[in-house]
């Protein structure tokens, strides 16, 4: 069985996988940055007492979570041009991942903020802090620490979801595997290799989270 497995072809295609890996990494980084931006804005809207901001934020989060990412991606890729917005596929891909992941990030951030005991808010209020000062000095530094593990989980999901961008011909990691599969009829080699690379990315992210956790631990955030 393994005699049919061509390590040589994998080595031959390594530059292509390398390019795909690099593309997956930087488009994931950009998308996650976008997701954080979207998530922070949505979480802030969702935490307001007035319905004016809260209702649209909740509706957005529900809509994104209720529909498949693939459908959202296809809407942006095939639907938007029909409405007059023509964007390069890479931009569409990053946009789709940011908007999708942002909804989940919003809920993670909101939960993190709500996990901070009410007494912390009151201590800030009682000492004359404004809303912004309370958030910046008291709530967010504490909330940030509890959101690191779930945000890491979301980052891992985002990296794997980025594989869907191969369907709109973005030359990322999964696309490289597809090329090997279709050019040389070697799906086993192609897809086992990309699996190995995704595993590599996963451990990279885990290491990053451990580092940030230790760094935050040194900053003394214990309870």
């Amino acid at each position: 069985m393994l005699e049919n497995f061509s390590f040589r072809t994998i080595v031959e295609y390594l530059p292509l996988f390398g390019q795909g890996l690099v593309t997956t990494v930087w488009l994931s980084v950009l998308s996650f940055a976008g997701a954080l931006a979207v998530g922070i804005v949505l979480a802030a809207m969702n935490l307001q007492r007035g319905r004016l901001f809260r209702v649209p934020a909740k509706a957005y989060i529900d809509a994104v979570r209720a529909t498949p990412l693939l459908a959202q991606l296809y809407f942006l890729y095939f639907g938007l041009p029909r409405l007059g917005f023509v964007l390069p596929e890479l931009v569409v891909g990053i946009l789709a991942l940011s908007l999708n992941s942002g909804a989940y990030v919003a809920e993670i951030i909101r939960a993190g903020i709500l996990s901070i005991p009410r007494g912390q808010v009151e201590a800030g209020v009682a000492s004359g802090m404004t809303y912004v000062q309370r958030m910046r000095l008291v709530i967010l530094p504490q909330a940030f620490k509890v959101t690191i593990p779930p945000l890491l989980g979301q980052a891992i999901v985002l990296v794997k979801d980025s594989a869907l961008l191969s369907l709109i011909s973005v030359a990322e990691l999964t696309r490289a595997g597809q090329l090997l599969a279709s050019d040389r009829f070697m799906p086993a080699e192609g897809f086992i290799t990309i699996a190995a690379f995704y595993l590599l990315l996963y451990y990279g992210l885990k290491g990053l989270a451990a580092l940030s956790g230790r760094w935050l631990g040194l900053a003394g955030a214990r309870t």
Binding site: A123, A126, P141, R222
Partner: protein, 253 residues
């Protein structure tokens, strides 16, 4: 007494016919109470009688439905009153301390002075160290709250309030969450603050503290002030059945 700190000739804290509801529940009933500058008032009463709500109204942690509440000459709920500004003049000590867990003892004390009072960091830190020394925690400036005992945390919390140089200090059951052996270290600090002439309202059942420093004891029940008098009057000769019943329960042991 000078009138500098209390405009309009009124008390430092002035309740006039204050009412508050939580839904259907009338938690403060027609409260009228005046606290003079440098006066120490102890508020006691059974649980659920509205004591905490009463003092939480003073710095706007709770809002009142009707009546007048004037603090340091400023009427609460008046659009002209800058609540954030007024709060810097009012220290509030919580039952559960509410120290910032991600900040050291010194940072807890200096955070608001630096960011709210805009005092330069070096100056705030110098004052903060002095305050922590004053509450007996000179060796704990760099400790995090989780590394401190309850009594130590509450003393940091008091120092945190004093760091703002407030005109008024409010204490909401400051020793109720403490192990018995830690109560006196906190009360000692409170006595020292009172003796320096701070205007204080203290919700507590520590009758020793009341006898020592309070000019007045206010007894509340079911949202109303039932009785008020000097500690001696109140403890030796309670006038109402409800205050007698209450005292017999807390003084039994």
């Amino acid at each position: 007494m000078t009138n500098l700190s209390s405009k309009n000739g009124a008390g430092m804290i002035e309740f006039r016919g204050v009412n508050k509801w939580f839904g259907q529940l009338n938690v403060l009933k027609d409260i009228t109470l005046s606290v003079e500058p440098r006066e120490v008032v102890v508020v006691c009463g059974p649980s659920g009688s509205g004591k905490s709500t009463l003092i939480r109204c003073i710095n706007g942690l709770e809002t009142i439905r009707d009546g007048d509440l004037t603090v340091d000459g400023q009427r609460l709920g008046d659009p002209a009153t800058n609540m954030t500004r007024l709060r810097t003049e009012i220290g509030f000590v919580f039952q559960s301390f509410n120290l910032y867990p991600h900040k050291t003892a010194l940072e807890n004390v200096t955070l608001a002075p630096i960011h709210v009072r805009k005092i330069p960091r070096t100056e705030a830190e110098k004052a903060g160290r002095e305050l922590l020394a004053k509450v007996g925690l000179a060796d704990k400036v760099d400790a995090y709250p989780a590394q401190l005992s309850g009594g130590q945390q509450q003393r940091v919390a008091i120092a945190r309030c004093l760091g703002m140089r407030p005109k008024i200090m409010l204490f909401d059951e400051p020793t109720s969450a403490l192990d018995p052996e830690m109560i006196s270290e906190v009360l000692d600090v409170m006595v020292a603050v009172a003796e320096e002439g701070m205007t204080m309202m203290v919700v507590t059942h520590e009758m020793g503290f009341a006898r020592k420093v309070a000019q007045r004891v206010v007894f509340m029940d079911a949202g109303a002030i039932v009785e008020s008098g000097t500690p001696d009057e109140f403890f030796s000769n309670p006038k109402t059945d409800r205050s007698r019943a209450f005292l017999s329960k807390i003084l039994r042991h």
